[in-house]
Symmetry: D3
Subunit: 316 residues, 6 copies
């Protein structure tokens, strides 16, 4: 029997089939229909229409599937193996439309709505950061309350329109607040750093009181930051992980890299520290394979998925 | 005096300033305002929103500017030096909007309209092949007659809509015929090859009687093809050069490569053979630098620009 | 409904789902069990243990699956669309063992034996060229007669043992003849070229009378070569396509490249010319993605698969 | 109106013209004549003749121009926007001569002399580190006093001649001291690390009492180092930033990388901490684009330019 | 006289012959016969047959030879120059057999046995980590006692067989303990990190009491780790340095990278801290040049060799 | 016994030692002193100081040594094995000086003079094309008569000085004629193509009557060109092979690539056709490894060396 036969929510074994072999699904997990009985569905949103500089993250889902073949399941800190605690499936990619964001978002919203039936949990793999907005819209519709956003990024993503265009990849936080999809006061931005376009980039932060944890904050007093990020209650919580929160040395494969960023060890520490009771969804965005080298950016994304899957497993 | 001082329609001299130095403009020519007194303006349209597979050609204009530093002016066959016969200028890039094609085309059309005042000639540097359509619309408006299109490509570009989207990068020929911007009977497609999606891909050719010169035609009887391409009269003629007419060995840096393609020597032969009395515009599209190697694709584009500039100079 | 739902032997539509999206299977075809009712099964043999210089072709199947997303089905010359004529499926990868060739070949032979039940046809995607031997052994077992081998390669692959090791990637032809798996007198080697290690490299050719078509033969009189390759009868025939038959300009991503090789247009011409009534199997080997650029080698492999699938479809 | 029209000391707006568009000048600033009324002129010295291992930094100015399109102006720590406080211009490249250092330095000295008329400030973009010497010679001529040098580097650059050649890229500090262009006692070297060729490499340090801050010093007690670097008075001060002070993980694109180096965050911290009242010039050298990946080295250089421009703006 | 003349245990001078010139030997040292009178012989074991994911480390020795041209000899901390204290030679590569590990190990064992005659010391340059086992077998035979192993790695390398194959690159520690080649109680593993395949991955550690220093341990209390690693006596000690102990940002060129790893500065600190009286051998493995960028991984390997050579020199 | 022991003018056997192993010498041949009893000495001239655009060919000798590990010796057309007919040795690299051409040429001339004692034959591996001049000077001194030059190149290399510098990499033909080192009337230039800087680029050809064979000549009537190149007598003849005679698809790794160039098959045909009775020296220049991909340019250089070595062997 070949490894093409997908088994019941168990990954293809690396000890039986070399990790470079087999059809590439997220974590070598089975492909499932969107309405199957998985706990956490992983899907891609291959769309990079809204990026302002380098494109290429449309190939994020495909590359991350490939590299996730190296994924293991046992979490040393949490002492759990997500493969054994939760049913994870690859549910394919959302339909997308490369150049027409409006058409594209309609399809993404429909896809996410289908996932959310019966309170399924998920990880969305981008694609650019504009794709978080249609997800949040559906989550709000589902959970009826503004979410807590935990947002890893180099950028504030509350910037104004550009080129006469409103919904580019640096605006989702602003829109999410304006559309009341998230509650800024209980939301966090991690990894933020300058330079900025102007001091007015910070007006949104001041106005909404969203909690910003800059790289300076993390380097100056990491323990305090970890403690600040440890007070989560039952609110529906969403993690949005823009790979450019990492320094370009750790994540060259992205569209708008900013130097002076976080190390993968630092994001691991933050993710490992989380005790999130009600994680309702998560995304990993802005991985642009044409600019990656030796897949190190994709590896960072895969490890982040592992941490998020472990949070899901831990809260079960 | 440094080379940053742009002189009167003369390129920065490679014998005075090394070719790796200086601010990069097309062929090291001066930057001119759109309404200056140049003969041929070269501009970029950095837009890759409508590509169906690999993106990246938004960086085409920037990379081609850089590599054109290697450009020389004397044409061995035509025995002319375009630098001496015509006034060439870099007139910058058209404004573009990455994700919204409609907004983007409005700006491109306005930009091209400004160029066309006073019958300026031009070369547009893409960007993806969807950008040819707004150019043709303005040319039609200017010249009041359907143009002769000379179209180098691996693809017919008369394909149907995809993902519910009408104007992607494989449709411009169909739209140009439907909008009567070009006259298919006197138009040519060069470098076409399979595989196709279906036999119906050829229906458009049959219906419109556009002249198709496949790679097989060129390899089987190049002289005949050259002769077929030698009967141009006074009609306003437009050259659209999709770099993927070349084989991926010669042009790896493109979005939808097709093997079994032309060599650069073959496209040179065809271009050198042209006697086009009324060339009104031209474009070079689909150069995607993130997928190029050692700039060989960009070099092919620069040489094609040289050939087109020599045609302009020759007809003067 | 997402594209993760595999449909009945139809590819995922590129006009509905962008080609950069979706889980990567060969030609976006459904995954099938090894004993399903497909006509032609495509599978990988991810093994590069027997290469003599650069490794990396263990990643061949994975990369070729990805790049085959660009695959179309309509053959301009044969005027058929293989998607409509035959049932093609991705049947996954054969189990392999990276370092132990003996163990590995046992598993490959078992896998191929399973495919061959009920006279299924197939394309095997390597992996290195040593993997052809276990396939030929099973075909011999199935068809009870030495096969006609049509072998594209830069190398004769009838070399002696190296480093005390008998079955490296340059010996399969010698073993296939010695084990009477193929009949050299009706077999062909295409694309062969020097330099050789010594004149004794040609002894095998002289002794067995295998038909060698060098690059010189092809360039000197292509029509004659095409005619020589046109006399195939009902014998079970096998195509083994080593990507290094191509020149490194066309196929840099391989382990032991030899310059002065074929162009993709030439191999297309040869493949398109074939009228093979009884093709029983085929392989494409030695694609080494770590050494490829912009996937041009993988694209050449995908196009070769298209040609072979069209031969299967044409003979049906 | 296109973005090719250079405006009055304002950068091309990223919110109007996408950052991947437009002719590439430093920070998208206007091109100015060397004697225009800018405050700080940025120019390139594209010369890599004096490197001892990998060449390629002749392409530094061109690549850094391109990547500086991503540059923003607001400094979070200093709370100023250099775009608003000082007039910055791209004044092109100094003339250079690739293979003849003597000829080359004559031209560089003449160019720098022209810049220094009327006490213009500048940033020079290398080019290899030998180019700092002709700059320092002109600064000495202008300011009549040995400068304070603030020198970021992995290497001491006080090495002896090599291959019978005196002025290679590892000797500028020695020559600057010998020619009394800098005062070693108030000068600093930051990021220095071994291995060395011999213990005598340190003789120069001992003799001249130049202040060396090794990576060990910085990692052992960063606060002390920052304090040591905080005692600058009114002396004319010059910053020379060799990108190889950074670890190769952060700056692979350089000629003689040394592991165990600084992070970009550490150099940012040092630069942000500076209060330099009389910065008279600065350079960024040894960025070698052919060895860079995803432009991360160039991005580090651009950010360093931003920090230096902010120092200029802050002292105004 | 050209630099092809190998002199008496002195490196080719970088001040006489540029470092990019000359035939590439380890540290530009002379080539010596295996039984010459060197103190420390450096040799390669170009074998990557046992890797579980990316291959390519068969090219490790060749690339590390090339990059070691940049190697200097003076150790700032230890205040010694190994070039002056010990006789170092490049003794070529061990014979290997790409695909047959058993044959290969026989040859490696014979080669190492030849080196060990007369208690020669050595550094072996891999090749994959399975090659450490035949070395340890010969060292045990020579020294008659289980060695102290100092093992840098991301992985525990005490994993079970995979694909029915016992001696893959993740098993050498288990076999070394089972064969009593090393004494786990006095052995150390440095740089270990998760995720793991399961909690049972840790059973071996618990059972054997091998000393594990995870990345967390190092980041939480580096001084304690350094102290733990400072208690070495006269036991024959062996250093095995798997380059993947480093983070992929510092060492992308390896086969099974794991994020969240060590920096080169950290491994330098550990190596510099060592006072090993009886170092009997060392290896550096898993450098895979096809996945490296700008040779930064090879540079890290070269620097590690420098540190090990300095330990040898220091203990003399 | 390891392969580090260099045997008597026999290459390291690829059937005993895998080709990826061993210290890299040209064609795995022994290293010999400059005055040893070899017939043909191969040496490098690692110098790229005189290039006008991309540097990097200083690494040519090192890379070509590495890739020549793949070299075989039997020439199918000539039916000889150069390994058996002539004594070939790697005699190391000429001393060079990176930035000072005058110093550098003095050393190269001295090195070549040493080689030429006793009429040794040689192949010089560049390095840039300026290095041919010091070689020709010494050959003239040795043979007392202007040589026949057989020059493969895209460029005429009879250009004027640039940047006030006389001996850049595009001038050696002009100087060789002016210094009467070659006789233009019996010399040949092969692969030449435009565009040129001006029509005056051809004045030198007209004046000196050097025989130019353009790419057009070769494509229009290859037989005639081959015949023109077949009339060599006893004159001392020198082959200078600039890798940029090849098309960038075949040789991307070079400094000033020109599209529309020769294929490797075409240069093979020309080289195979040569019957040169008195070949006194040869060089292969302008291979720039940083711009190569998958070593295809270096492979073309190695094959050219093979052809030249076969000419030497054939004339013996």
């Amino acid at each position: 029997m070949s490894q093409s036969v997908f088994m019941e929510y168990k990954p293809l074994s690396g000890r039986e089939f070399p990790r470079f072999s087999g059809i590439k699904t997220f974590f070598r997990m089975p492909v499932a229909d969107i309405d199957a009985d998985y706990d956490v569905g992983i899907f891609g949103i291959p769309f990079d229409g809204a990026v302002s500089y380098r494109s290429g993250c449309r190939f994020g889902p495909s590359k991350i599937r490939e590299v996730s073949s190296l994924g293991r399941g046992y979490h040393w800190g949490r002492e759990i193996n997500f493969f054994e605690k939760i049913k994870v499936a690859d549910i394919g990619d959302s339909p997308t439309v490369p150049v027409d964001q409006k058409l594209c978002f309609e399809r993404v919203e429909k896809f996410v709505a289908d996932v959310l039936k019966n309170k399924k949990k998920f990880i969305s793999v981008g694609g650019d950061h504009s794709t978080t907005l249609p997800i949040l819209r559906q989550l709000k519709k589902k959970y009826k309350t503004p979410l807590r956003l935990v947002h890893f990024d180099a950028h504030l993503d509350s910037y104004p329109a550009a080129w006469g265009f409103e919904y580019h990849h640096g605006t989702f936080v602003r829109h999410a607040v304006e559309e009341k999809l998230i509650d800024p006061k209980i939301s966090h931005q991690i990894g933020i750093r300058g330079p900025l376009a102007g001091s007015d980039d910070l007006d949104f932060v001041k106005k909404t009181k969203i909690n910003v944890h800059t790289v300076d904050d993390i380097r100056d007093d990491f323990k305090k930051v970890l403690k600040d990020l440890d007070k989560f209650g039952d609110e529906p919580t969403y993690i949005s992980f823009d790979i450019d929160c990492l320094d370009p040395a750790y994540a060259p494969g992205t569209g708008t890299p900013v130097i002076g960023g976080l190390t993968t060890y630092e994001t691991q520490k933050i993710l490992r520290n989380f005790k999130i009771k009600n994680l309702v969804g998560a995304d990993i965005v802005e991985v642009s394979p044409p600019y990656d080298h030796a897949d190190i950016t994709a590896l960072a994304a895969v490890d982040t998925m592992f941490e998020i899957l472990s949070i899901y497993a831990d809260s079960k």
